[in-house]
Amino acid sequence: MNTSGSQQAGVKTRPMRVQVKLFAGMAAEAAQRQLVLELTVATVAGVRAALAAAVPAIAPLLARSAVAVGGRYAADETLVGPDDEIAIIPPVSGG
């Protein structure tokens, strides 16, 4: 799995497309399970900003959510690439 987080230090400023997976109440609120975002900042924080702008209805839940990149929980400063699997993880309720 490509985890672009490790190598380059700089943050891209050219627009980049990424696919984002949504789950549970967030998918229901957004009425979609997957969407494509145009990022101006290629980090997890950039994903959060683009998603909140694209689907304002999910912004409150997004603020309480984690983000996974390449199947791992990722911090806001983690870099993302166009091939990364990005998923939004709202507060969990398994068990």
Binding site: F23, A24, G25, A68, I89, P90, S93, G94, G95
Partner: protein
């Protein structure tokens, strides 16, 4: 080592318990979580579970490995069901074995606490008022203790 599984069929908890047994284990604990009909005044007809399977499997395996080393377990298995789980049916089963009971009980409780906090699985409650996804307000952001 016993299984870590996400399944879409009923869970055979007794079979899971059998798989963790060994000649080195003197204590075997099985926990099952089942769909409860009442929470306060609310009535639940069934639960629907959904997971981000890629990450959920990784997190469950990590929890199993950490439980084994932290509590010195002989073995540990975890099965979580996905999809619809009717009242009285099992949504999650955790089986642990250890030399002695204290570690076994403690490990089972620790595993359930962690599972409920950090594994990307969600439930939707179906009741008289309709269907509602559960996203606890009090939950810590699972990404924050990923280390």
């Amino acid at each position: 080592m016993a299984v870590v599984q996400l399944v879409h069929e009923p869970i055979d908890a007794a079979a899971l318990l059998t798989t963790v047994g060994s000649p080195d284990a003197g204590a075997n604990v099985l926990f099952t979580g089942t769909t409860r009909r009442r929470t306060g005044v609310a009535t639940t007809d069934w639960l629907d579970y959904e997971a981000y399977e890629l990450l959920a499997r990784t997190e469950l395996e990590r929890l199993r490995d950490e439980a084994i080393s932290r509590f010195g377990l002989t073995d540990c298995g975890i099965i979580h069901r996905l999809g619809r789980v009717a009242v009285g049916e099992t949504s999650v089963a955790v089986a642990v074995s250890a030399a002695h009971r204290r570690e076994a009980f403690a490990a089972a409780e620790w595993l359930l606490d962690r599972l409920k906090r950090q594994v990307p699985i969600w439930k939707r409650e179906a009741g008289p008022a309709g269907m509602v996804w559960v996203h606890p307000e009090s939950a810590t952001n699972p990404g924050t203790d990923a280390s």
